[in-house]
Amino acid sequence: MYSRLYKLAISLPPLAWVILFLLVPYALMFAHSFWLTQDGVILHSWNLHQYAEFFSNPLYAAVFFRTLRIAASVTLLCLLLGYPLAYFLSFHAGPRKELLYQLVIVPLWVSYLVRGYAWKTILGTDGVLNGALQYLHITHEPVSALLYSPFSVVLMLTHIYTPFVFLPIYASLEHIPRPLLEASHDLGANPRSTFFRVILPLSMPGLLAGATFAFVLTLGDFLAPLLVGGSSSTMIANVVQSLFGAAYDWPLGAAISVFILVITVGLLFFTERLEKRWTFQ
């Protein structure tokens, strides 16, 4: 048995870490959301003014719904790319499986910023894509709509988060006992029917985990709109960032943060329950 002192000594550093860098900031943010700013000074008087402002101003609602739309699009596209990729690797890649798996993982080692800038050089008016389009005489002048639109944000984030969606799906496909597929064929189900009645249900936990990754990470993203999005694709995290920065309206920024936090936690709670429903063994 370890002494109480020893237990205290090893649990103190992580505990201090969690308190100092998680609980205290959350408490501060929570407190700020119920305070006020007046003439550039934060007043510590408790009220719901910030929440009222957020919910009544249609500008915030528009940004919030745009963020949801972008997050939903990214999630859907990541699933449409990640699931078939994971399926192919798990069931049909044969001896090249390991190599292909590594190739999917490699982009994760490249900095987020580098990948963002890469899309800028691809999509820009002087970019690789426009150059190619003109060279092939498909267009005669640069298409400016490629960059600085919600489209480019969705494109960039889909590229970045597809491996995150791929990984849990691949893991859950790898866990399906192969005799189950043989049993399904043996009982008269063709490959299509086997996919929908055995493979898809059994990979549901991975699919949900991947979709949650993509959705939640996109919901809180502020770099993609800054790099490739422009003003037409401002997302909710950009609003928070500017409120905490240039606008110096910490209480409103905190209120929006609390709102996003509540939505995220609710979503995680919901998908975790769904995942449990779909987990067998």
Partner: protein, 355 residues
């Protein structure tokens, strides 16, 4: 089971014609041919690596033969995908779908084959009643014990009324008592439904207890195929004699109608030259008190060990010159020293040397 749909017993249901299977450099089946009769219980018996499971997988359609053909009821089988074959499999580890209830597991094949909805429920209920698991219809298979999962796997396969049921060592994961119980159930179930069973096992006792015929496989080839009694009584090769039951192999020479195998000398029909015989331990008995068969061959041996086995005992006999024989006699109390033993010369079966 409608009697009209299935051909009469005795006719050939499945023909394996010169099938071979190669995985890379390894030849797992070597031009093997085999017929399965309608309604029979045939066992593929062999050690691990003998090719028995591979042959089963070729018939199920999970693997394609490298050469040769498989025919069922007069049409080519090996070119069909598994989901178009009227063959169902009971897998070694059951392979029940964990996300489906017992009911949905059993109905899986009926749904896949677009059976009318009104027919599914009664057939599922009939199938589960057959394996006496009706009260578990709504359970999840992961909550069931091994023996119970085994029964569900059987019901899931049988509900489709296959022409041929393949069983891949289905009892190997069960403990000894449950195994015996399931053996008895399998046997009576097979009689009841009249479906042809192709059973794979490495357990020769299980094979003998269950099968109408046994096909013994060795290194991807068919060593011998015969009824359980025939293959035990008249093994064709030394390998068969040793694999199925216990035996004494007698090596020696025949000279003008007399076999000369160490301490044993007995009349034989074999032509002059080297000979090999299989003599089952139970064919040997103590000379004292035993009724002498007309063709009795007598020999003298020292009892080295005695193993009591309830109604019988196993004796380990030394006949000199390092010749050891085993004899199984009726239990009769402790024995020792030199004794005279007899066996009917006809019980020494000439066998071929195995390759």
């Amino acid at each position: 089971m409608s009697a009209a749909a299935s051909p009469s017993p005795g006719t050939t249901l499945l023909e394996v014609r010169a099938v071979s299977k190669r995985f890379g450099e390894k030849e797992v089946l070597k031009t093997l041919s085999l017929d399965i009769a309608q309604g029979e219980f045939l066992t593929l018996l062999g050690e691990s690596g003998s090719g028995k499971t591979t042959l089963l997988r070729l018939i199920a359609g999970f693997e394609a033969p490298t050469s040769g053909e498989i025919w069922m009821s007069g049409s080519r089988l090996d070119t069909l995908p598994p989901y178009k074959r009227r063959v169902n499999t009971v897998f070694q580890h059951y392979a029940l779908f964990p996300h489906l209830s017992v009911r949905e597991n059993i109905a899986y094949g009926l749904r896949a084959n677009n059976t009318p909805k009104s027919e599914i429920a009664p057939r599922v209920e009939q199938a589960i009643a057959m394996v006496r698991m009706s009260e578990y219809l709504n359970a999840k298979p992961t909550k069931l014990s091994g023996g119970q999962q085994q029964r569900i796997a059987l019901a899931r396969a049988l509900v489709n009324r296959p022409q041929l049921l393949l069983l891949d060592e289905p009892l190997s994961a069960l403990d000894a008592n449950l195994r015996k119980e399931m053996q008895a159930e399998l046997k009576s179930l097979q009689r009841e439904v009249g479906i042809t069973f192709l059973f794979v096992t490495h357990d020769q006792e299980e094979a003998m207890a269950l099968s109408d015929r046994i096909a013994l496989l060795k290194d991807g080839g068919l060593e011998q195929i015969a009824s359980s009694r025939e293959i035990y009584a008249r093994p064709a090769t030394a390998y068969t004699a040793q694999f199925i039951g216990q035996t004494n192999l007698l090596r020696g020479v025949a000279r003008s109608g007399i076999a000369d195998c160490g301490a044993l000398h007995f009349p034989t029909g074999a032509p002059d030259g080297p000979v090999l015989f299989s003599l089952r331990p139970e064919s040997i008995s103590l000379a004292a008190g035993a009724p002498q068969p007309p063709d009795a061959a007598k020999f003298r041996a020292t009892i080295r060990q005695q193993f009591f086995g309830g109604s019988t005992e196993l004796l380990e006999l030394s006949c000199g010159n390092n010749q050891i024989l085993r004899a199984r006699i009726d239990a009769r109390g402790p024995l020792s020293g030199e004794n005279d033993f007899v066996f009917p010369a006809s019980a020494a079966i000439p066998v071929k040397e195995s390759s």
